[in-house]
Amino acid sequence: MTSTRREVVPIKTSADVVMARQKVRQWATELRFTLVDQTKLVTAASELARNALDHGQGGQMMIEVLNGTARTGLKLVFEDQGPGIPDIEQALKDGFTTGSGMGLGLGGSKRLVNEFDIQSEVGKGTTISVIRWK
């Protein structure tokens, strides 16, 4: 798979979370994702960016276009140097059910993308990559 363009967006403030959303929206529109796919990806980006800010003490988001052999996709990587997630499996389960729980929005975000990868080390930080194919 050869990838072409990429961009890095800092996530340090809540305004940055909005910026991250808008960037992803921009790229997804350019690549002509369907409206529903765009909405899903931008929403996932919002969740993950907010996580990086609120739980990861700030970090960054990288956007990259993936030009696969038969398909095109958008890859987002959220990286922070925060406290890390001790129990990833549990975190993925703590999705939102009634909308009143705290949760990390991870489980939900996972359902909004095609590929989801999470690496986290307590004390070191967390890196989450997601891919949405066209």
């Binding site: 305004a15 979370v17 909405t39 919002s46 907010r50 939102f96 949760g103 929005g105 939900g108």
Partner: protein, 129 residues
Amino acid sequence: MEKIPILRMGPFLLITIQVDMHDKLALQLQDDVTQRISEWGSTGVLIDISSLEIVDSFIGRMLANIAAMSRVLGADTVVVGMQPAVAITLVELGMSLPGVRTALNVESGMELLYKQRNLAGVDHDLHQA
């Protein structure tokens, strides 16, 4: 600092969200709504999200919170105009916003609020300050 405007329409409050809200703005809105309900004795809150292209878990929680807090203060909340793509995404995210009544548009939302008000037999004198 920018705020989301809250309009008073008789016994109800009308809130039209047209900007991509950052978290602080959303929290501010929650505060403002509860303030206004107390101040004006409103019995209904109508939130128009027909311009919102993204509703993530934070905004979803904000809507649910507004509905819950308003209820405690004696007002009903109706969220109207959710876009199809947003609805599909929220469901996938796992949010069903229980406790939040919804309607297709402002008109039917108002109808719903009036119906609720009549059922509750509420009759406020709205000309108090």
